[in-house]
């Protein structure tokens, strides 16, 4: 036990103290914040630019209402959209367009809109600008013009648009999650988001830290450190110390990230307010304690399961190339389980979901997904954990044998029959 501790300590400390770990731990939340909040922040920043748009309104119904409907202002209170009506006759439309195109080209105006006389029947308006890829603006203009046109049609048919609006009101579907504790709080889609994020984290941990274990083992083997170490301890102690040490590194990283995430959610209202100026704190998602506990259970068991596989694979490696080739089959079941999680979110109680959550390779991700979407009977959860623990014990025994022989075998990568012989050495 003392030797496992010594190995654990070395593995943990050298990693946690490394620049790579410190940077990775610090930069990942920063990166996530940038990616998730960044675009929204940029979008919400008010534009200072004024848009000069000329309107060629052949129908005579649009222009008056357009300026009225698009009344967004800049920070300094000016209207963003400065519309100017251009008078023309049907005969001179083509020459008018040529002149307006030149204006756009020379930046005298930003854009012009051409409204044909038959817009009520033809349903087409034309927008000319140098930049036509601002989807937000295009959609805005389209919506405003269609509304003006349809209001006009309604008025012509002597129907009050206000009445139509009130008759057409949409129904909102409020969702409530029912759990063992009874009716839950109103759920506004966050349940799915949280499940997804947690499964994602589980998936990342299994792939990332598992690969660390594999790398650590084969680097020790290829740098010939390993025999020096196993002359002071049993190979299984080395394996255990490594797996636990790297697991602790992963846990450390996740605790740091969770703390950052926790702080962010607590102060999200303040942060968003200080950026956008409007008080719009999104509801703070709460994760049931039981789901959190299961997360930790499946995180730990899943990590141990895959780290053990990776340790054995690492012991078979004889070159970096080998490592890449061997890594793939070990990642496959994790990827499969992750993809299957999407099916489970839709059918948490289906037979397929039940079966997939009993296969130890998939259990950590699939069973956890089921628990967080729609908790299965406790007996089922317990069964999956028992199966997982039993296969973990078997795997540790098997990996220990392969590890013991593999770390001292140099040369070519073992074939399957050779591997079976190793187990008997």
């Amino acid at each position: 036990m003392k030797k496992i501790w010594t190995i654990f300590k070395r593995e943990y400390l050298t990693r946690v103290k490394s620049k790579g770990f410190i940077l990775g731990t610090a930069l990942t939340p920063l990166f996530i914040i940038l990616v998730t909040i960044g675009p929204g922040l940029l979008m919400s920043l008010k534009t200072e630019d004024i848009k000069n748009i000329d309107i060629v309104d052949m129908s005579g119904i649009i222009y008056e209402n357009l300026a009225h409907s698009l009344s967004d202002t800049t920070e300094s209170g000016q209207r963003i959209y400065q519309f100017r009506k251009v008078e023309t006759t049907p005969e001179s439309v083509d020459s008018m367009k040529v002149a307006l195109n030149a204006s756009v080209d020379k930046d005298r105006i930003d854009a012009y809109i051409f409204i044909p006389g038959d817009i009520e029947e033809g349903n087409v308006a034309e927008y000319y600008s140098k930049n036509v890829s601002d989807f937000d603006e295009n959609r805005n203009l389209r919506n405003v013009i269609s509304r003006i046109v349809s209001d006009h049609r309604l008025e012509k048919s002597n129907i009050d648009p206000v009445l139509i609006k009130s008759l057409n009101k949409n129904i909102r579907l409020r969702t409530f999650k029912v759990t063992a504790g009874g009716e839950g709080k109103e759920d506004v889609g966050l349940s799915f988001a949280i499940t997804f994020i947690m499964v994602m984290f589980l998936y990342m941990a299994l792939i990332m830290y598992g690969a660390f274990v594999m790398r650590s083992v084969y680097e020790e083997k290829l740098s010939r450190v390993v025999e020096v170490i196993v002359s002071s301890c049993k190979p299984y102690q080395l394996m255990a110390g490594k797996i636990l040490g790297i697991g602790a590194v992963g846990l450390t990283q996740y605790v740091v990230w969770a703390a950052v995430a926790g702080l962010l959610t607590l102060y999200s209202g303040v942060i968003i307010q200080s950026f956008s100026g409007s008080a719009n704190p999104f509801p703070i998602p709460t994760i049931p304690i039981s789901v959190l506990i299961y997360f930790i259970i499946f995180f730990v068991l899943g990590y141990l399961f895959y780290a053990t596989i990776y340790a054995a694979l690492g012991a078979m490696v004889n070159s970096d190339q080998d490592a890449q080739q061997l890594q793939f089959p070990a990642i496959m079941p994790i990827i499969f389980a992750f993809m299957f999680a999407f099916y489970i979110i839709k059918n948490p109680a289906g037979t397929m979901s039940q079966v997939a959550s009993m296969i130890s390779f998939f259990t950590p991700i699939t069973m956890f997904t089921r628990i967080s979407v729609q908790a299965p009977p406790f007996s089922e959860i317990l069964l999956s954990i028992v199966i997982l623990v039993m296969s973990l014990v078997f795997l540790i025994w098997l990996a220990g044998k392969i590890f013991r022989v593999g770390i001292l075998m140099y040369g070519k990568r073992p074939t399957l029959p050779e591997l079976l012989k190793w187990i008997r050495y």
């Binding site: 030797k3 050298t14 490394s18 740098s223 010939r224 450190v225 025999e227 013991r404």
Partner: protein
């Protein structure tokens, strides 16, 4: 007492018999040479002592007790395939290796400084391994092997990659430790080193011990029954067929093959009677010759 007893130990990998029914008894305080060509089974034998490989058959005892982790912690083993964590600092890695053998805290610090000084490595104490030269890494590895003051030291090809100055430095330390009672086992295929240091040897070939015993008596057994003599005077006495079966004149000396049953003593007496002797030497086969002779005959069988 025996430092190490290997009792009818065998190990095979697939069809290859790596070690075949090996018996060895190494007394405490010995400097023992485990010799053999590449692939003879030396490293497999040592790995079985260190419990890195499990023997198929047989029994290994360390200081008279069954092989256990506790007993193995009294061994310092320098493997042939050796390396260090490249990113770790010199003092950190020695602290780690010492802790692996149960040496902690101040005791560990004291010993590390002592040995770094002894091997001229103090200035490098806070450098990373990858900044050290190969020779320095070798010396560091050696410190790691002996830091826990083992009662038995097993060195597998310890001098590869070391320059003559460092080789002598390490050799001196080994002999000094031996004089304090530490048992030393050398595993090597380099005969000159063994000849200078070891008192007894075991020669392994194809997993079997083909020759073992005290170096002196082995040499005697392989003696060619010949002498080398240099003298002033007439060489006529060499023609005495009762004493001498053949001789060979070199520039300033003669290599003389004695007749059967004749002792070197008789030759000296005869020589002193006839000439002025300036040099007299009993010709012994080198360990190298014995090694080659034994290996080729055992392979011829």
């Amino acid at each position: 007492m025996s430092a190490l007893t290997i009792d009818h130990v065998s190990k095979s990998f697939d069809s290859v018999q790596a070690v075949n029914n090996l018996n060895l008894d190494i007394p405490e305080g010995a400097v023992f040479g485990l010799l053999g060509p590449n692939g003879a089974g030396k490293t497999t034998t040592i790995r079985m002592i260190m419990d890195i490989i499990i023997p198929d058959q047989g029994n290994i005892q360390i200081f008279g007790k069954p092989n256990s982790q506790e007993m193995r912690d009294q061994i310092g083993y320098l493997p042939e395939e050796r390396g260090l964590y490249r990113k770790m600092k010199v003092r950190d890695i020695l602290t780690f290796l010492a802790e692996m053998k149960g040496i902690n805290g101040n005791e560990s610090k004291k010993r590390i400084e002592l040995w770094l000084e002894r091997l001229d490595l103090q200035e490098w104490g806070d450098k990373k391994i990858e900044e050290l030269s190969r020779g320095m890494q070798q010396k560091l590895q050696f410190i790691g092997t002996i830091i826990h003051e083992p009662r038995l030291i097993i060195l597998d090809e310890p001098f590869t990659g070391l320059d003559p100055v460092n080789t002598d430095m390490i050799k001196d330390i080994i002999l000094e430790l031996n004089s304090k009672g530490t048992t030393i086992i050398f595993s090597t295929h380099l005969m000159e080193q063994v000849e200078k240091i070891c008192k007894s040897i075991c020669l392994i070939n194809n997993g079997e011990a083909v020759l073992k015993g005290e170096l002196k008596s082995i040499k005697k057994d392989f003696s060619k029954h010949a002498i080398r003599i240099a003298f002033e005077g007439k060489a006529d006495f060499l023609d005495d067929a009762k004493l001498i079966s053949a001789y060979d004149q070199k520039d300033s000396y003669y290599d003389v093959q004695l007749a059967e049953g004749v002792s070197t003593q008789q030759i000296i007496q005869s020589a002193v009677k006839h000439v002025q002797v300036s040099h007299f030497e009993i010709l012994e086969p080198s360990l190298h010759d014995i090694f080659i002779e034994t290996v080729t005959t055992s392979e011829g069988e």
